[in-house]
């Protein structure tokens, strides 16, 4: 991820690479929203996740006393 603010052309390029091509009149709005989302989720980088596994197929209830991923 870039550390500087996302530019509209860069947002368009990344979206196209992700399979969601954007018309030109969408580039600025999507760049601004994507930058906002990035700023919100970026704080997770502060966490020391060490060997913590992802809760992917998530279960709220422990299974046999273990953390279930």
């Amino acid at each position: 991820m870039p550390t500087d603010d996302l530019t509209p052309p860069e947002a368009a390029r990344q979206a196209a690479r992700a399979g969601v091509p954007l018309p030109a009149d969408r580039h600025a709005a999507v760049a601004a929203t994507a930058e906002h989302i990035r700023s919100v989720v970026a704080v997770l980088r502060e966490l020391d996740l060490a060997d913590t596994p992802p809760a992917a197929a998530y279960r709220a209830v422990p299974d046999h006393g273990t953390e279930v991923a």
Partner: protein, 464 residues
């Protein structure tokens, strides 16, 4: 009292005692819908003829062999994300124009098996990706938002246009509109009610649950809907817990956690006072109040977004390519921007969720339930986009409404919004009760004890 004013439990008692026919109940609710809908806008579709036929069938069967259970002959409406065979699942979106569901969702089939009578589909914020539900107005004040995304389901129950409804909750979408419209909204334990046949927003955060006028009613609906279905990969295969209503108001020995952090931060004064007063009522009923600190609060919003945003985009990816102009602008830009999130962003959020779940498990060793506000403020006027707090911060309205709901979506813990009062403008205030996963029995026991001893009006006045 008109039949449409009855709670689900009261209607069931009247039907069971043969004092009320399902035909009269359904007709009363259909009349009420016709009267309030022009100003309310709760329904995407009303299935009047189907409902009348269902009511006649229920009446015949009940006359012959008695009711199947408390839902038999009682009208219900479903959020328009839930499939009903032969009807459109409109999802509040032009993307779904011309849609027809081939089969019933699991919850639709279970309600039908319990004998409930479908009266219609209720409005959702487009694909549940928002907290407003713009087509629906607040049942207590038409100038204010119903909340969302299950706004139609909440407003319908509050206005007497359905005794109970179902909604979905990914970041508060049952509890927020329930609180704003002054009804009960239950988000059960993740996986307890199967989601097969329900349009997803975010697979790892989505829940289906009831909106009702009482916690007793929520217990009755939960009993009919809980249970394993392998077609939902998250569905829990656990022995059926006891979800029947609890008859005892004594809360002696119960530990109620009162958050010292997070849940009472940036909350308006009327909401804080009403919830603290309700917490005091729980102590009067015998509960022990235990101050608790909420873990990892700095990471709640980031974890929630890190899970929801890419999962929502993944679901909509094909339609974003083929018909992006059919989405509303607010939803489209979020879905498009979600394409820029990386797999490692999503995995980091999943790993943060593991940490959060571990920390909350420790919290559940200290207390049996947590009592907190459901939302930081009552319903805002339609069109208001942000809220300013006394600490100088500004928050978007959706962020504020999601803030106190997200922890239960991330951890999968059951959570319920219970009406506990009104602000000086007469708008409803909701208390949120949370319990450990599969702790619905305790959650509903506390909620029922409170509503029996300190009842609050849940039918909006002058809704016509």
């Amino acid at each position: 009292m008109q039949p449409y004013e009855l709670s689900l439990a009261a209607a069931a008692r009247e039907i069971g005692a043969r004092r009320l026919s399902p035909v009269d109940l359904v007709e009363s609710v259909l009349d009420r819908i016709e009267r309030v809908e022009p100003g309310l806008g709760a329904y995407a579709e009303v299935t009047a003829e189907r409902a009348r036929e269902g009511a006649r069938e229920a009446e015949r069967e009940i006359a012959r062999s008695g009711p199947r259970g408390p839902l038999h002959g009682v009208p219900v409406a479903l959020k328009d994300l839930i499939d009903v065979a032969g009807l459109a699942t409109g999802a509040g979106s032009l993307v779904r124009e011309g849609h027809r569901a081939d089969a019933d969702a699991t919850v639709t089939a279970r309600l039908a098996a319990a004998g409930a009578v479908l009266v219609g589909k209720t409005h959702t914020h487009e694909f549940a990706y928002g907290l407003v539900t713009p087509r629906t107005r607040n049942a207590w004040d038409r100038e204010r938002i119903a909340g969302g995304s299950s706004g139609g389901s909440a407003a319908a129950v509050a206005a007497g246009a359905a005794p109970f409804t179902l909604g979905t909750d990914t970041g508060g979408s049952i509890r927020v509109p329930a609180a704003l419209n002054g009804v009960v909204g239950l988000k059960p334990t993740y996986g307890l009610i199967p989601r097969h046949g329900v349009t997803p927003l975010s697979w790892s955060l989505d829940h289906v649950g009831p909106l009702t006028r009482t916690a007793e009613d929520a217990a009755l609906v939960l009993a009919a809907l809980a249970g394993h279905d392998p077609r939902d990969p998250a569905s829990l295969d656990v022995p059926a817990p006891d979800h029947r209503p609890h008859p005892d108001d004594d809360l002696t020995g119960l530990r109620v956690g009162v958050p010292r952090t997070y849940y009472f931060d940036r909350v308006t004064e009327p909401v804080e006072s009403a919830v603290r007063r309700a917490v005091g009522h729980l102590a009067e009923l015998g509960a022990t109040l235990v101050p608790v600190d909420i873990p990892l609060t700095r990471y709640i919003r980031a974890t929630h977004w890190g899970l929801m945003v890419p999962e929502a985009t993944a679901y909509h990816e094909a339609a974003l390519r083929s018909a992006p102009e059919r989405y509303g602008e607010d939803v489209r830009v979020l879905l498009e921007a979600g394409a820029l999130m990386s797999a490692t962003d999503h995995l980091r959020a999943q790993r943060a969720r593991t940490l959060m779940r571990q920390e909350w498990a420790r919290l559940w060793e200290q207390v049996d339930v947590i009592a907190a506000p459901a939302v930081p403020m009552t319903a805002v006027p339609a069109g208001q986009e942000s809220v300013e707090w006394p600490d100088g911060t500004t928050e978007s309205v959706p962020d504020a409404y999601v803030r106190l709901s997200a922890p239960a979506n991330i951890t999968g813990a059951p959570a319920l919004s219970l009406p506990v009062g009104h602000d000086p403008a007469g708008l409803p205030i909701g208390m949120q009760l949370l319990a450990r996963p599969l702790g619905e029995h305790t959650l509903l026991r506390v909620a029922q004890a409170h509503e029996r001893t300190h009842p609050v009006r849940t039918l909006a006045p002058a809704a016509g």
